[in-house]
């Protein structure tokens, strides 16, 4: 055990103290924050159009509505249109808006003209159109002598909710929002697992190869058992991964918050303006997507189950795949090409699991989802994705038990390959050859 810790410590410290590790770990969140800051800045700049508009409203409807001035300022004039076209730029306006006279309000679409030396942005145009359309709608309401309250009363929605959860008062409401959060969260967790397997699994493989190629391994295993060395390495690199992820988990949200708070375009007013500009988004969706409801739903998820189970699957998946990578690293020598050939089956399994995420998230409690989240080679990627959808608890436990068994099996299997592989030089490692190693005596 003492030796395991020594190896673990060396594997961990030698990586964590590396300049490249420190740079990547600290710069990735900074880069993400900087990227979002730049994107936010650009969007904010884009939405900060300040327009001075001169309006010749021959219908009088828009003028009557007395539009509020903000970033877009409306000034009304009664002069002749042709005169205005000539002079509006000299008078300091960016745009001239002409609304023709309206005889009959009883139609759906009205037309107007704008004149501008520069092309106005789509969002600016839509914002102006929206304002005028609202004025026309109000005029129509007045003309038909309608009651605003009656009109409001006509707006109708119909929501479908999960009845089973409704009937059970202890459960939280599982609405559409819950499904959206679950899908995003599940996708993120599945993707995270996929990344972890390749990044840190690859790290284990390179580390094993380095010891073999540098012939350190002969000294090492004349002192410690190969199995101890392999485990120390797998856990050491795993701890490096955890450290990196933990730092990111703290730094990324913190930096992103800082960026949104201190950057122009991050303040609520311009956010509202941006939302106003985004008329393309159907309003019903926005109604549903209310920030408070989102936060309520997000914190209402069963984190007490999701987090610990996610961590367990995280370890399980990492251990299974990194031990396979260790075995591969021990079987090859300098030739990376050989390694790629041996890695192919692993890559395929992981890819299949990854692509299963999409149908599983579509139907998180279907039979494919149940199978994929229990089969131990897929479960580390698929089960975390299902967790947000409250899968049956027995499936979670069955999956965990199978995972634990598989972890033990693969570590044992890889250990047997590793102990032979690290001392084999010059022999081309094929699957047949590696298969034989399994049965060699110590």
């Amino acid at each position: 055990m003492h030796k395991f810790w020594l190896i673990f410590k060396r594997e961990y410290l030698s990586r964590v103290k590396k300049k490249s590790f420190i740079l990547v770990t600290l710069l990735t969140p900074v880069a993400i924050a900087a990227f979002s800051a730049v994107v936010g800045f650009i969007t904010a700049m884009g939405s900060q159009v300040e327009l001075e508009i001169l309006v010749r409203d021959e219908s009088g409807i828009f003028e009557q509505s007395a539009p509020e001035n903000g970033r877009i300022n409306y000034t009304f004039s009664q002069k002749d249109v042709e005169d205005l076209k000539r002079t509006y730029q000299e008078d300091g306006y960016n745009m001239l808006l002409v609304i023709p006279p309206v005889d009959e309000l009883d139609q759906r679409t009205f037309n107007g003209m704008y004149y501008s030396p520069d092309k106005p942005s789509l969002s600016a145009l839509e914002s102006i159109e929206g304002k005028i359309a609202r004025a026309f709608r109000e005029a129509k309401i007045r003309q038909y002598a309608l009651d605003e309250k009656v009109l409001e009363g006509l707006r109708t929605d119909f929501d479908l909710e999960n009845g089973e959860i409704r009937d059970n008062p202890t459960e939280k409401k599982a609405g559409k929002l819950n499904i959206i959060i679950g899908t995003v969260l599940g996708g993120l967790m599945g993707f995270l697992m996929y990344m972890v397997i390749f990044i840190y699994g690859g790290m284990v493989m390179r580390s094993v190869m380095e010891e073999k190629v540098n012939r350190i391994v002969e000294i090492m295993i004349s002192t410690v058992r190969p199995f101890q060395l392999m485990l120390g390495k797998i856990f050491g690199v795993g701890a490096v991964g955890l450290t990196q992820l933990a730092i990111w988990l703290v730094l990324i949200p913190v930096l992103l918050t800082v960026v949104t708070l201190f950057l122009p375009g991050g303040d609520p007013q311009s956010m509202a303006q941006m939302a106003e500009g985004m008329q393309q988004v159907p309003t019903e969706d926005l109604d549903d997507f209310n920030v408070n409801a989102f936060i309520r739903e997000f914190f209402g998820m069963n984190w007490g189950l999701i987090l610990p189970v996610f961590v367990l699957f995280f370890f399980g998946g990492y251990l299974i795949y990194s031990s396979m990578f260790a075995a591969i690293g021990s079987s090859i020598s300098e030739d990376m090409g050989e390694g790629q050939q041996l890695m192919l089956p692993i890559v395929m399994i992981v890819l299949v699991a990854f692509y299963m995420l999409f149908p599983v998230l579509e139907n998180p409690n279907g039979s494919l989802a149940a199978f994929a989240s229990i089969f131990p080679l897929f479960s580390p990627i698929v089960m975390p994705a299902r967790l947000a959808f409250d899968p049956p608890i027995w499936q979670v436990f069955l999956s965990l038990v199978l995972l634990a068994g598989t972890v033990v099996f693969f570590i044992w299997l890889s250990g047997r390959i590793y102990r032979i592989g690290i001392l084999m030089y010059g022999k081309k490692a094929s699957f047949k050859e590696i298969g034989k190693w399994l049965f060699y005596k110590g």
Binding site: I7, S14, E211, N214, I219, T223, L423
Partner: protein
């Protein structure tokens, strides 16, 4: 009392027998030569002794106990293919190896500092291995091998890649360790070094031990009654009957004495003919000759 006893040790791989019923003892405090041509099974044997692999058959007794996994802490092994962590600093690396061999951190620190001083590289602590030359790396590797003061040190070709100065430094270090009671296995095919350093040897070929014993005894056993003679003046024509002589330079001869005669018979004949003898000595075969002869005999058999 032997530090290591091997009795019928056998190890077979799929397609060949690497070690075939090898039996020998290594006495405590001796410098023992493990000789053999390439591919003879030396490395396989060393891997068994260092518990890297297990023997299929036979017994290995280390210091009176059957060899087990705690013994490597009392063994120092310098493999032929050297290896150090390139990115690690000299000090860290030695500390790591020493602790793996069971030393506590403070003990390890003290010993490493001492050894670095003795090798006059006390200021290398913070140097990275990759910054050092090959010969320098080898010094570090040697220190890593002896830092835990093992009872048995196994050196596989310890002098390859070293310049004469460093070779002498390591040689004298080996002798010093030996004087302090450390047993040493010295594996090589450089015979002149074996003759210089080793007291006992075993010769392995094709997995079997074909020859073992004290260097002096073996030479005695393989001598062919050949004498080297230097003289002055004219050589009388007397030597092609009972003595088989060959010229060996201007004023020198090599004479083989047939069975039943001895050196005195030869000398009395020479003295009778009034030859001025400058020197006379028995020619013992070099280990190199014995080695080649043994290996070839087995090849042809």
């Amino acid at each position: 009392m032997p530090i290591l006893e091997l009795d019928g040790v056998t190890k077979a791989y799929k397609d060949q027998v690497a070690v075939d019923h090898v039996t020998f003892d290594i006495q405590k405090g001796s410098i023992f030569g493990l000789l053999g041509p390439n591919g003879a099974g030396k490395t396989s044997l060393i891997r068994i002794i260092t518990t890297i692999t297990g023997a299929d058959d036979g017994k290995v007794i280390f210091d009176g106990e059957p060899l087990s996994s705690h013994h490597p802490e009392q063994i120092g092994y310098l493999p032929e293919e050297r290896g150090l962590y390139k990115k690690m600093k000299v000090g860290e690396q030695l500390l790591y190896f020493a602790q793996l061999k069971g030393l506590s951190r403070p003990d390890a620190l003290k010993r490493i500092k001492g050894l670095l001083g003795r090798f006059e590289i006390g200021d290398w602590w913070d140097k990275k291995i990759e910054e050092l030359s090959k010969g320098m790396q080898q010094k570090i590797q040697f220190i890593a091998t002896i830092v835990h003061e093992p009872k048995l040190i196994i050196l596989d070709e310890p002098f390859t890649g070293l310049d004469p100065i460093n070779t002498n430094l390591i040689k004298s270090e080996i002798r010093k360790l030996n004087q302090n009671g450390t047993s040493i296995i010295f594996s090589t095919h450089r015979m002149e070094q074996v003759e210089e350093i080793c007291e006992d040897i075993v010769l392995i070929n094709k997995g079997k031990n074909v020859l073992e014993g004290r260097v002096a005894d073996i030479k005695e056993k393989f001598k062919e009654n050949v004498f080297h003679l230097e003289y002055e003046g004219q050589l009388p024509d007397i030597l092609n009957g009972d003595f088989h002589a060959e010229r060996f330079g201007e004023q020198a001869l090599r004479v083989r004495i047939e069975e039943g005669k001895n050196a005195n018979d030869l000398l009395s004949v020479l003295i009778k003919h009034d030859l001025a003898i400058k020197s006379f000595r028995e020619v013992l075969p070099s280990l190199n000759e014995i080695f080649i002869k043994q290996v070839e005999t087995i090849e042809h058999a």
